[in-house]
């Protein structure tokens, strides 16, 4: 058996585990990448996918609780309204390039977000464009995000709206996460690692996104977003796409 054939056999042996979700995240990502280049494994996967897809049906059928729908739709309606508001401003020309300096370094949030004050804001609710953090009469405030300059497309913007204990991250022209990954929102509370949240998302086809940040931001230093495997991670595995300082 050649080395190549042996390697292929190792991949092939892992097919069942991959289909069942039994590979660790890194191995699953490697296997997905292998599938893109191996027609034999791809065909085998397609054949066995029938069996894996049938497994959920073996669970005893239960109706979803009615209150769950109300809970989910409350978030969806809120985000839909914010998205609609952001969409009306999506064509606004970006601020002068000389005033925007996207940058970050490492997983830890960079102290002193003076640069953020020069970032152009995505305007929510049809309010005129402003620069830097903005406080509203209703007690809410918006904080612009700092995006990774090497990953964000020109014109990409994001901000965090903090209002009555709720925080919502909105963005425009955000890049799609890498294939097979989703964005995960994290809260930095000053610990060694940021705190994971259940907020996983991918921007829509036009790069817009609106995500409610679960939990309280009281005492938090900031919020960040990284791309992670489907289902999220418990600690970040990538450099952040964007960071927001809330302290």
């Amino acid at each position: 058996m050649t080395t190549t054939a042996r390697e292929h056999q190792e991949w092939s042996d892992s097919l069942g585990a991959w289909l069942l979700g039994a590979l660790p995240d890194d191995e699953a990502a490697d296997f997905s990448a292998h599938l893109e280049h191996c027609p034999v494994c791809k065909e085998d996967a397609a054949n066995l996918q029938v069996a894996a897809d049938a497994l959920p049906a073996s669970a005893p059928p239960l109706p979803a609780p009615s209150h769950l729908k109300a809970r989910i739709m409350a978030v969806v309606e809120r985000e839909a309204q914010l998205l609609a508001a952001a969409g009306s401003e999506a064509d606004r020309p970006p601020a002068p390039a000389g005033r925007r300096r996207w940058s970050f370094g490492g997983l830890s949030l960079r102290p002193g977000f003076a640069l953020a004050a020069t970032c152009a804001l995505l305007v929510v609710g049809g309010v005129a464009a402003l620069v830097g953090e903005q406080a509203f009469k209703d007690g809410g405030r918006t904080v612009p995000a700092t995006l990774a300059s090497e990953r964000a497309a020109p014109g990409a913007r994001a901000e965090l709206r903090i209002d009555a204990g709720h925080a919502t991250l909105t963005g425009t022209k955000l890049p799609a996460p890498p294939q097979g990954r989703v964005y995960e929102v994290w809260i930095d509370r000053g610990g060694r690692n940021p705190e994971p949240t259940s907020a996983l998302f991918s921007p829509r086809s036009d790069g817009s996104a609106s995500v409610a940040v679960p939990g309280s931001l009281k005492g938090a230093r900031g919020v960040m977003v990284t791309d992670e495997p489907p289902g999220g991670s418990s600690i970040p595995t990538r450099e952040p796409l964007l960071t927001v300082s809330t302290s």
Binding site: P24, D53, A54, P56, S58, A59, P61, L62, L68
Partner: protein, 195 residues
């Protein structure tokens, strides 16, 4: 219900996903109504507690709402895509070991309580489908069925299963693949051809 909302009900899942990806909340609501039952059933089967299952379903559907554009109709049905996301979320919850601490004895028998509810046509179809798949799984050798159950519903990795069963990893992976092959053959052998 408005005429436009009624019109949406006539759309196929794939068409609703197009609207959902543009931020149409009503399209999302219909996708939720159509698939939340199987999603909750799968989540409950995996995490074993009602509250945790609700959390998993909520996270999964909000992820769907926020990433609707990622749905690719060439890779399968919306149902399969939705349940795949639920499965990922449940595995994540299990691996974070959050739900193990939240299992409650009070949840025992939840299936029976729910199954006593009204039996709609959809529910009857779901129950029939469940019986069909369970019957196919019953034909698997026990060691194959065991690793599939531990992996798919238990959220364990192949190395964790190998350790639990004191069996080589290669053997576990082999049983997974053989079990899926046999399950596929059983399912296809009993498909009733369309008349």
């Amino acid at each position: 219900m408005s005429d436009s909302a009624q019109d949406l009900r006539t759309l196929a899942d794939e068409d609703l996903m197009g609207l959902l990806s543009r931020g149409e909340a009503r399209a999302f609501e219909l996708i939720y109504e159509r698939h939340s039952g199987p999603a909750f059933s799968l989540a409950y089967r995996m995490v074993g507690a009602r509250g945790s299952a609700e959390d998993v379903v909520q996270e999964a559907f909000l992820s769907i709402w926020r990433s609707g554009a990622r749905y690719d109709r060439t890779r399968g049905s919306v149902r399969t895509w939705v349940l795949g996301i639920v499965h990922h979320r449940a595995i994540d919850a299990l691996r974070r070991a959050v739900v193990h601490d939240r299992r409650r004895a009070g949840d025992e028998g939840i299936e029976e309580r729910f199954e006593a509810r009204e039996r709609t046509e959809v529910e009857v179809a779901r129950r029939d489908e469940a019986k069909h798949v369970r019957a196919a799984m019953d034909t698997l050798p026990s060691e194959q069925c065991q690793v599939i159950e531990l992996a798919y519903f238990g959220g364990f990795t192949h190395t964790e299963i190998a350790s639990m069963l004191e069996t080589p990893v290669g053997t576990v992976k082999g049983r997974m693949r053989l079990g899926l092959e046999k399950l596929r053959n059983q399912l296809l052998a009993h498909v009733v051809p369309a008349s």
